[in-house]
């Protein structure tokens, strides 16, 4: 995959952090406003994808990206699983909302819900990035 022109590179370098911040914001406020781990995760994946599209990737970076995506995906979903299992240890129920609910309608409230959103955000962003990178490296022989 080749990169794109200098203008595209510059613009995507400027856009990249803001998309990332927006994604993180949506994930962290998932229990208060519309959106959540899934919507934010897709945005973050979009930010990574933008960067790869603009700068291009050789075989080594692609392989590394694939491995990182797999790793991120596994870790994200494992965290979600782990939060669920922690409920059993804490109070005897799978997926028990065991953390203190805190002050309603504040950023740090609602117990495990924001934590779950973060875990889902990691999983989804890595998963979509994995889909992108796997499908983009596919070469259809010489038929393109």
């Amino acid at each position: 995959m080749k990169g794109m022109s200098v203008i595209v590179k510059q613009i995507s370098r400027l856009m990249y952090p803001s998309i990332l911040v927006l994604g993180v914001y949506i994930i962290l406020h998932g229990h208060l406003t519309p959106g959540g781990g899934f919507a934010g995760g897709v945005l973050i994946a979009g930010a990574f994808t933008l960067l790869v599209l603009a700068y291009g990737a050789d075989e080594v970076t692609t392989a590394r990206g694939k491995w990182r995506a797999t790793l991120g995906e596994s870790i994200g979903i494992f965290l979600f699983w782990f939060i669920a299992v922690l409920g059993i240890v804490q109070g005897g129920y799978f997926f028990l909302n065991m953390v203190n609910h805190g002050e309603p309608l504040q950023l740090f409230s609602a117990g495990i819900i924001p934590l779950c959103n973060i875990a889902i955000g990691i999983e989804v962003s890595a998963a979509l990035f994995a889909i992108f990178i796997t499908m983009s490296v596919l070469k259809l022989g010489d038929k393109v």
């Binding site: 797999t70 596994s74 005897g92 997926f95």
Partner: protein, 498 residues
């Protein structure tokens, strides 16, 4: 920690970590896969023995019903779930054992075991779920994992079969989901036990029945009953042998027959009309399935058509609605899981040794592959219903139940189906294992040790499972399962109490 949770947590956790583990060292995935399925088998045996027909309900997240209306998701383990869990996990363990050598021919074993564990987790989730939408979610996990597994060899034929499977499977899922939407709009609840109460209150209104029709179409498509069978004869033969064994052995039953029984016996309440639909679908599948099988010359494709035919017996038995009929149907369900898995593993061994599935090209393998040959004879006699193998007992019970219920025509058709099955398997035995040994199979050798072990255990199960009918053993396995269906609407009280 409740026993029920192990069935979901353990395979899911294993599957989430396997991509990392297998990257470190590929051979570890064999160990992890087998250890997890072994643990699950232990749990299900333990569960069946200790539960002894009681109904255990587990409220996920601690969300107990508020004002008697469930707000969260609950898991339910009763006699029927116990029996299904037992058979799923037996087949899963033996199949992973078989996979150790068989899948060495394919690349990327780590992904294979990941998908396999996800499939098993999905099956267990469907069986344990007490919530309609949750059942759908786990059904999708199993379905997606099996789409990918069917095409695991990524050859032309496998991709094509899997694509067909995906399109029809996706249609089935859409029908089921639309059914859930209509169902929710009418009853206002997704919990099966709660819905059962609501329906008892409002009766079978046209809306409820419309949802029922959608469920019937969707789940029949998943169970591959004729006329919804188009995907099965492609998908099951194309998959790697262990996956064929899982698909034919347990997946079509857990995704198709089990939800049908749950919904129509425990939630809707069985009526003569629904029984008639079950029985007619069953008989048509028996007869047409076996006729289609007779004309096949591809080993695995022939077995796939027999799966349709044998599922027909299960649905016919359950559809009779009498205690004996339900017992026979469920008994045939688990018997079929055992002997059909074994037959697909036999076919896999033949393919492993010779690389062909064409019956006409094979011949005389009995002397070269004694274990495969002997076990396949056991399985063939079982599926054909010869005494004293397990298939004989369950078919006998179903036929007797038909006669008792006054359905003479169905009884006769079931007998005819059984005879045709025998003919078809005599053909298989003759062309594959007997006849003269062909020149090119001079150097064929028996398959590796672990594959033999797996097949021998299955064969022993085929011979021994008649013992399940002994009163003491039946009291903890078959009887509670049949009671769950026969007592029908008492499900709601058993699950939610009061």
């Amino acid at each position: 920690m409740s026993l029920l949770l192990y069935f979901i947590i353990v395979p899911l956790g294993g599957a989430f970590l396997l991509p990392i583990i297998s990257r470190l060292r590929e051979s570890l995935s064999d160990w992890v896969g087998n250890a997890i399925t072994a643990l699950l088998l232990y749990c299900s045996v333990y569960g069946v023995i200790t539960a002894s027909g009681k109904t255990v309900t587990y409220f996920v997240g601690g969300w107990r019903p508020i004002a008697d209306i469930p707000v969260g998701i609950n898991l339910v383990m009763d006699g029927l779930s116990g029996l299904m869990l037992l058979i799923v996990n037996i087949v899963a363990l033996l199949v992973t054992l078989y996979s150790v050598n068989y899948m060495a021919r394919y690349t990327d074993k780590g992904k294979y075991y990941t998908l396999f564990l996800l499939m098993v987790a999905g099956l267990n989730g469907v069986i344990l779920s007490g919530d309609l939408f949750n059942l759908f979610v786990f059904l999708e996990i199993t379905a997606i994992a099996s789409y990918a597994l069917v095409a695991f060899g990524i050859e032309d034929e496998e991709l094509e079969a899997s694509f067909k499977y995906q399109v029809l499977g996706g249609t089935a899922s859409a029908l089921i989901l639309l059914g859930i939407a209509v169902f929710y709009q009418t009853t206002g609840t997704l919990n099966l036990a709660d819905a059962s109460r609501v329906i008892a209150g409002i009766g079978h209104t046209p809306t409820v029945l419309f949802a029922g029709v959608l469920f019937m179409a969707g789940f029949c498509l998943k169970a591959a009953l004729i006329p919804f069978h188009a995907w099965l004869p492609d998908a099951h033969p194309a998959a790697p042998a262990p996956i064929s064994a899982m698909l034919s052995g347990v997946v079509i039953k857990v995704l198709g027959v089990y939800p049908l029984c749950r919904l129509f016996f425990n939630v809707y309440g069985i009526t003569p009309l629904i029984q008639d639909i079950f029985m007619v679908l069953g008989v048509v599948s028996i007869i047409l399935g076996v006729f289609l099988a007779l004309s096949q010359w591809d080993f695995k494709r022939l077995l796939a058509y027999h799966s349709i035919s044998q599922i027909g017996y299960v649905v016919l038995g359950i559809g009779l609605g009498t205690p004996l009929g339900i017992l026979g149907g469920l008994f045939h369900l688990i018997n079929h899981s055992v002997f059909k898995s074994l037959l697909f593993l036999n076919a896999g061994s033949v393919v492993y040794a010779t690389d062909t599935r064409e019956l006409k090209e094979l011949g005389g393998l009995q002397r070269k592959m004694p274990v495969t040959g002997a076990t396949s004879q056991v399985a063939s006699f079982s599926i054909a219903g010869l005494p004293p193998f397990n298939g004989f007992w369950s078919k006998l019970i179903i036929i007797v139940a038909c006669v008792q219920a006054g359905q003479m025509l169905f009884a006769v058709l079931a007998v005819i189906g059984s005879i045709l099955t025998l003919l078809s398997f005599l053909k298989v035995q003759r062309y594959v294992f007997f006849d003269a040994l062909k020149e090119k199979w001079k150097n064929v050798r028996e398959v590796p040790f672990l594959m033999c072990v797996s097949m021998i255990v299955f064969a022993l199960l085929c011979i021994g499972m008649g013992l399940l009918l002994l009163p003491q053993i039946s009291a903890v396995t078959l009887k509670p399962a049949a009671d769950v269906l026969y007592t029908g609407l008492e499900y709601a009280t058993k699950v939610l109490g009061g």
